[in-house]
Symmetry: C2
Subunit: 146 residues, 2 copies
DNA sequence: ACTCCCACTTGTGTTTTGCAAGTGCTTGCG
DNA sequence: CGCAAGCACTTGCAAAACACAAGTGGGAGT
């Protein structure tokens, strides 16, 4: 079920192409960002993101991300009528990629000033730390997910 | 500063969202990959990639990438009826991001064996070098673009 | 002048996405 | 219990993006 294999008879693909098949769409990385940097875990929280993902697209993306093994879905013990979406190791290992995106974007697509989230709100400090001590920053962000 | 709610039509965007608006589609990174790793520079070369991009989509992506300042378009001095598409500095600085994708993909989406391109063909060696001496690898790939 | 090659554009059908509304299960409350 | 409210979706339909095939116009070669 969680096994990912190249379809039979399929041309072998380059790493970039196969990665794009997993998260190379408009919404997957936004969802992962919400988990990594905003501490979101619920369907309703992803829906509330300012980008405004549609309910059907969100549902299908969560299903796909789970099928690809990037996230796990389980009942929320604290609220039995809802579910928790959390990163698997495979998903967590996308953090360096996300940080490279933030780094590039901070350099070339500077934003005026944003409010209430770690990456939009404090990219400069985050990136400073990224340059200084990348590994520890990664550990720290991952630690905050628990 | 005061926290700013996303006002109608003018919400401040996070670095990830704004980056995805630039290259977060099915084809942009494939085109950039062709330039970075396959040394391609012509419309017809991008068209010949095994992924099979459509002519209209390729044209629109090249236009968009140029508009975003990731690539330059200029006449090919060696063949005046065609154009060269080359990376700008802004585009070149996406290399670390591409390499992170390759790294993640090599780890979690392993490919059997591929033929004739640097990343699909020799990801292991490339990534070994990435771990050992990231900066020099980046310099080297960029140097090969000249 | 005629034919290639080249970088596109145009037209048409299909797939993906966006939006609004609805569904079914669960929970809290009188 | 009965009922409303919250939750995670699903469904139906319109709009947009995309794939595919064909065509266009300019330049170069012969």
């Amino acid at each position: 079920m969680s096994q990912q294999k190249p379809a039979a008879g399929m041309e072998s693909k380059c790493p970039i192409t196969s990665a794009l098949e997993v998260f190379g769409d408009k919404w997957s990385l936004v969802i992962l960002r919400d988990i990594f940097f905003k501490g979101k875990n619920h369907y309703r929280e992803f829906l509330a993101s300012p980008e405004g993902i549609s309910t059907n697209i969100l549902a299908s993306r969560l299903k796909k991300l789970e099928a690809e093994g990037l996230i796990d879905k389980r009942p929320d013990e604290a609220n039995l009528s809802s579910y928790l979406y959390t990163l698997t190791d495979k998903g967590k290992n996308l953090l360096p990629l996300l940080l490279e995106i933030v780094k590039w974007s901070a350099r070339y697509n500077p934003q005026p000033h944003a409010g209430d989230n770690i990456i939009a709100g404090a990219p400069a400090r985050l990136l400073e730390r990224y340059e200084e001590d990348r590994e520890q920053l990664i550990e720290e962000v991952l630690g905050a997910l628990e």
